[in-house]
Symmetry: C2
Subunit: 149 residues, 2 copies
């Protein structure tokens, strides 16, 4: 039997969150947290609406998933996020001891890899899932923003 719950399936859900951010005028990044094929947190970037640099999609997803689980560690969880996490989010993921991080588009400027942020040794990383879709949504956002200003 084919398992429909693969990384692409869940990344589509994260992309839906990114689209909600886009509609709100936020840099379009979405995230979800999954445990045993079940989505336990959904979030999108809200830095503009909340006037808060800490309101990245991943940070909210970590808080929300821990709240659902009743414990602060996400050892059996996977985070799906449309853009490569930054230093702050990778630092939070380090503390969470999350099992797996799957991201879509790379962030060559401020992504955790180019910045050298350390993840927890137990955390696996997969990248490039729906990368094109995530990148195009970002590009569309910045083009529309430029045209408005």
């Amino acid at each position: 039997m084919i398992n429909p719950f693969d990384d692409t399936y869940f990344m589509k859900k994260a992309l839906q969150e990114a689209e909600v951010a886009f509609e709100k005028g936020e840099i379009p990044v979405g995230a979800i947290v999954v445990i045993k094929d079940k989505i336990i947190a959904r979030s999108h970037n809200l830095t503009e609406l909340l006037n808060d640099v800490t309101a990245h999609a991943e940070m909210q997803a970590i808080t929300s998933a821990a709240n659902f689980l009743g414990g602060k560690y996400l050892q059996d969880c996977t985070l799906y996020v449309t853009l490569e996490p930054c230093q702050m989010c990778a630092g939070a993921l380090y503390w969470s001891q999350i099992s797996k991080i799957v991201f879509g588009a790379s962030d060559e400027q401020r992504g955790f890899r180019v910045m050298g942020t350390k993840l927890h040794p137990k955390t696996k990383v997969v990248n490039g899932i729906l990368e094109k879709e995530a990148s195009e949504l970002m590009k569309r956002f910045f083009i529309e923003k430029r045209n408005l200003n």
Copy 2:
């Protein structure tokens, strides 16, 4: 005239926050944010109480200060924190473009310096203010915790 509002004065306020964390059974770290000699945010570590790895003193202080200011950038602010910020908190401070970070005790294991986290180029760093007091509070916490277990 002597200005009573020096780094030691404000670090004492951050230490008071760390003591509140201690009393709650949290790793005792406290933080405040100051703008023009005025305290606009006070916070302490709440990771255990909130079951949330993102609830470090600095993260709450950044959110709280931005909320007070009505904008997400802390360009004219100074953060006082009793312990050297971690990757996550330094990453958040990077986004905030804060003017100055003053910390007490160094964190040789997980502090942002040993982890290589980048701050904003405009951010100045001062360390070692009331270092002994901050370190001793941490040591006392871990000794008491070990004796309880």
